[in-house]
């Protein structure tokens, strides 16, 4: 259930109460802490224990916006932040759409974000758990050595208040473990990683994380570079998650209103194959990025983006909604107290199909299973739609997984890939990313190699 943080809420309320006539003021107050343990070859390499806090203030007057933040909750610093934000207002351009969100009556879906067991988990156990994870990864395959095993947890408390009447506060914690391995064969070395996330350490699947890390490092040993061709690819859930995340900016209402989306002017059109449905649903607790409120303090909600291949909607903050004469969809994003609200999808999921990855592969006579991609930030242009990433994986020959391949790229455009989807897997994986993963089969993609 929701846990209020009255102490921080009082700070946010005090800031907002200082608004002068004609001013809109928003205060975002946060504090948090983290523990980070890294183990290497059985010894603790580092142990980080840290806390931080801060405040961000946004002031809007006469359609002009100014913001400021400071990494402290010192009373004198807060006064300075408010004065700076006010000073900054005069340098913005008047924008008739500028403004804070208004309460819209949508109730947040209650979710559990705080785990007492994690909050009370002893330090010694964090260290032991990390050492255990490293041992399991090494035991999984004799060719594997360690690069590091890691335990990370964090907690955060935030409070939010606006002159428009939004008030909310909350508390969340989370933890994850990860392990990075190396595997050698002669002069060749490959890297692998595995991870596990949970509400508390009892949710960790250490064996799976260890096995994934060993598999990823060893499966590419002896890999060759494939020859250039057009072929059918199967995206592993881990890759699909990254692919879907890239699409997020095309649904961003602010991008649409500023002419920066491949989907602008395409509402109601068939933008993907008819069996493709995509939702953004941060109210689903299974999603790693589930949340009850968005970056402007409005309730997060379930939004259907593409239904049966047809583009249904764009996502909005209050600002992008005003620009496009509609209402917020609860999709304001925010990078902590130092950031200003933006727009984005919060927790995306492709509706699963009926077949397992093995069944999907069984129907492919010649193709490639893509298990990892690199350079998504440098080779994918979400405005033009050009898509090109580095990749590694396995050949698919006559319905079965064959030999490992690496040092090649996959290329197409985002627009074409959505129309070239052949099948969708049933293997949903709630990965620690902005989109859930599952296997996705896409035809007619260019593999560029030797």
């Amino acid at each position: 259930m929701k846990v209020e943080v009255p102490e921080l809420q009082a700070i946010a309320d005090r800031i907002v109460a200082q608004a002068k006539p004609g001013e809109q003021v928003e205060a975002y107050v946060g504090r948090g802490g983290e523990t980070s343990v890294r183990v290497y070859e059985g010894e603790m390499e580092h142990f980080v224990s840290a806390q931080s806090d801060g405040v961000g203030i946004r002031v809007i007057k006469d359609g002009r916006t100014g913001t400021a933040y400071a990494g402290t909750l010192d009373e004198s610093a807060i006064a300075e932040v408010l004065a700076e934000a006010r000073d900054n207002v005069q340098f913005g351009t008047r924008d008739e759409f500028a403004g804070l969100a208004m309460p819209d009556g949508v109730e947040p879906v209650p979710q559990k974000f705080w785990d007492d067991e994690l909050a009370n988990f002893p330090t010694e156990s964090k260290v032991d758990l990390t050492k255990d994870l490293e041992r399991r990864a090494l035991a999984a395959d004799s060719r594997v050595r360690s690069e590091s095993a890691n335990y990370d947890d964090g907690w955060g408390e935030t409070a939010f208040a606006t002159t428009t009447g939004i008030r909310t506060s909350g508390r969340a914690n989370s933890c994850y473990v990860s392990v990075v391995t190396l595997a050698d064969d002669g002069d060749e070395t490959q890297t692998g990683f595995g991870f596990s996330v949970g509400d508390s350490p009892k949710d960790f699947d250490l064996d799976k994380a260890a096995r994934d890390a060993a598999d990823r490092a060893t499966r590419l040993l002896g890999a060759t570079k494939p020859s250039t061709k057009r072929t059918t690819i199967v995206l592993d859930p881990y890759v699909t998650s990254q692919f879907v995340s890239v699409l997020s900016s095309a649904f961003n209402g602010e991008n649409v209103s500023k002419g920066r989306s491949i989907f602008a002017d395409r509402l109601g059109e068939q933008v993907a194959v008819p069996f493709f449905t995509l939702v953004d649903d941060p109210t689903n607790k299974l999603a790693y990025t589930a949340t009850d409120i968005d970056g402007e303090g409005l309730a997060a909600r379930r939004n259907v983006l593409i239904k049966d291949g047809v583009l249904q909607m764009f996502v909005h903050s209050s600002y992008s909604a005003r620009r496009m004469k509609t209402v917020s969809t609860g999709n304001a994003t925010r990078g902590g107290f130092a950031g200003s609200p933006g727009v984005g999808c919060l927790a995306m999921q492709v509706t699963p199909g009926a077949k397992s990855q093995a069944e999907l592969i069984a129907s492919i006579s010649d193709g490639v299973l893509i298990q990892e991609v690199s350079g998504l930030h440098s080779g994918v242009n979400p405005i033009s739609g050009d898509f090109s990433t580095g990749a590694s994986g396995m050949t698919i020959v006559n319905g079965a997984v064959g030999a490992p391949i690496r040092e090649f790229t996959i290329g197409s455009t985002l627009q074409r890939m959505l129309q070239d989807i052949v099948a969708i897997g049933n293997d949903v994986d709630w990965l620690p990313m902005r989109a859930a993963g599952l296997s996705l089969v896409i035809a007619d993609v260019t593999i560029s190699g030797s």
Partner: protein, 470 residues
């Protein structure tokens, strides 16, 4: 800057905090203090959307005992706050007891590499915003196909102070000024983008020394040119990379693999390769934190070591790796001024500064003329490397076909992929037209630090181009 200038924390307090850090028997303790003020402003859709101010202030305390590092940070710079953080870091590094030993600090070391003429906090915000409006107008005037311009201005003035139990006391004042412009052009075949940036470790005088209208026009022209771009080829071809645009190639192809922390874990293809020929004999690779005004320039690194010029590869032979305190201590050698961190909330590790390849013997025009068929890359985007296998990618955001020794049609965006050691050996022509590139942010283990890069025009005889055309 004089040696008498007030320090962020008094040396006597630092001595007591360092002693407390070592109180559980640790061999090393360190305090890193930071006070940073920043301003940013964003323009989009013809409007200055907002001006923002930031203040980050705090200290990170590191304690090393054996192979274990303990770390804690605090935004409370009082002696009480610092002592509490020191105790937390000491406890993190050690579960056992130990003695107390006092720490005495040497005289403060300063090693400025930049001279600041116009401090960012002494410039009116109105003048900062005006830069964005000039960029917007210049970009929009290039062509009627320009449909959107966004521009960002950022500056920061950061004071740092480092003290450690070896007696090191060092201070630096780091100023950065940055301008970015992104342009969208729209045509019959859809939308295309252009991007340019300018960043230096100096103040507002950067805008007296550079033509920002020209920068904006160049970003706009890039987007307009790509409207008629054809899909990039797929497969392996010779690639010519324009001077000042491809330093990221070396950053990814070998820079990360020469960082001693990665070497020490055997996670680099360049491990045990010192003294060996690892690149074409044309290649001499330098990492130089002293390069005045460049984006990766620092007076001292974030462990208090003065920045320096390090030769990594000389005439194709690997001469040395880059080092921070921990890795140098293990090897019983001097660190190389490469210990850096994103902020006081982060542990330092081995990082590049300004990484570049020196001039070669060839005429850049002749390099293109000597290439029958290939790709000419005029601007690269970011990249990513797997240091263990050496496989790396980097994006091309402005590229052209080379046909019969001439630069011809523009190509759409894509990634190139290669293997570091192979690509270094495959550099067969190296120009004599060295230039530094755009400011970059290098990400490693979750931390971003500012870096610079540069190179003359060069040719790689074979790289895999990730296009879609046959």
């Amino acid at each position: 800057m004089s040696n008498n200038e007030a320090l962020l924390v008094e040396p006597e307090v630092l001595s007591r905090v360092l002693s407390r850090g070592k109180s559980t028997g640790a061999e090393f303790s360190e305090v890193f203090v930071e006070d940073k003020r920043s301003t940013s402003a964003g323009l989009d859709d013809g409007k200055v959307e907002q001006v923002s101010s930031g203040r980050d202030r705090g200290a990170g305390i590191r304690v090393v005992k054996g192979d274990t590092t303990g770390f804690a940070h605090t935004s409370d710079l009082s002696e009480k706050g610092l002592l509490a953080a020191a105790e937390a870091a000491a406890a993190a590094a050690s579960r056992g007891g130990g003695g107390v030993n006092s720490v005495s600090l040497n005289a403060v070391v300063r090693h400025p590499v930049n001279t600041i003429e116009k401090w960012p906090d002494e410039i009116a915000k109105r003048d900062k915003v005006a830069i964005l409006q000039r960029v917007d107008s210049a970009a929009r005037a290039v062509h009627k196909a320009i449909v959107q311009v966004s521009a960002g201005y950022g500056d920061s003035r950061k004071r740092i102070l480092i003290a450690n139990s070896d007696g090191v006391l060092a201070a630096d004042e780091q100023v950065r000024t940055l301008l970015r412009v992104s342009v969208v052009a729209s045509g019959d075949g859809g939308m295309q983008t252009g991007f340019q940036s300018l960043g230096h470790t100096i103040g507002f005088e950067v805008f007296d020394q550079n033509d920002i209208e020209e920068l904006a026009r160049s970003a706009a022209q890039q987007a307009v040119t790509k409207l008629s771009a054809r899909p990039a080829p797929s497969g392996s071809l010779p690639v010519v990379i324009k001077h000042g645009s491809g330093g990221v190639l070396f950053h990814e192809a070998c820079g990360h693999g020469l960082e001693a922390d990665i070497i020490s874990k055997g996670a680099s293809v360049y491990k045990d390769k010192r003294g060996e020929l690892v690149a074409s004999p044309l290649v001499t690779l330098i990492d130089d934190g002293t390069m005045t005004a460049e984006w990766g320039a620092i007076g001292i690194d974030d462990e208090g070591h003065p920045s320096q010029r390090n030769v990594l590869i000389q005439d194709g032979v690997l001469t040395d790796y880059m080092w921070d305190y921990l890795r140098a201590r293990k090897e019983g050698r001097r660190q190389s001024g490469n210990g850096r961190r994103q902020s006081y909330q982060h542990l330092p590790m081995v990082r590049m500064t300004n990484t570049f390849v020196l001039n070669g013997p060839h005429d850049p025009d002749a390099i293109v003329r000597d290439t029958k068929n290939g790709v000419y890359v005029a601007k690269l985007g970011g990249g990513q490397v797997d240091t263990a296998s050496g496989d790396f990618v980097f994006g091309m955001t402005e590229a052209y076909l080379i046909e019969n020794g001439e630069i011809t049609e523009p190509l759409r965006d894509g990634n190139l992929i290669g293997n570091g050691p192979q690509v270094l050996r495959d550099i067969d022509l190296l120009g004599n037209d060295f230039a530094m590139g755009n400011p970059g942010t290098c990400g490693k283990d979750g931390q971003g630090v500012p870096v610079g890069d540069g190179q003359p025009t060069l040719r790689v005889k074979s790289l895999t181009i990730g296009g879609t055309a046959a």
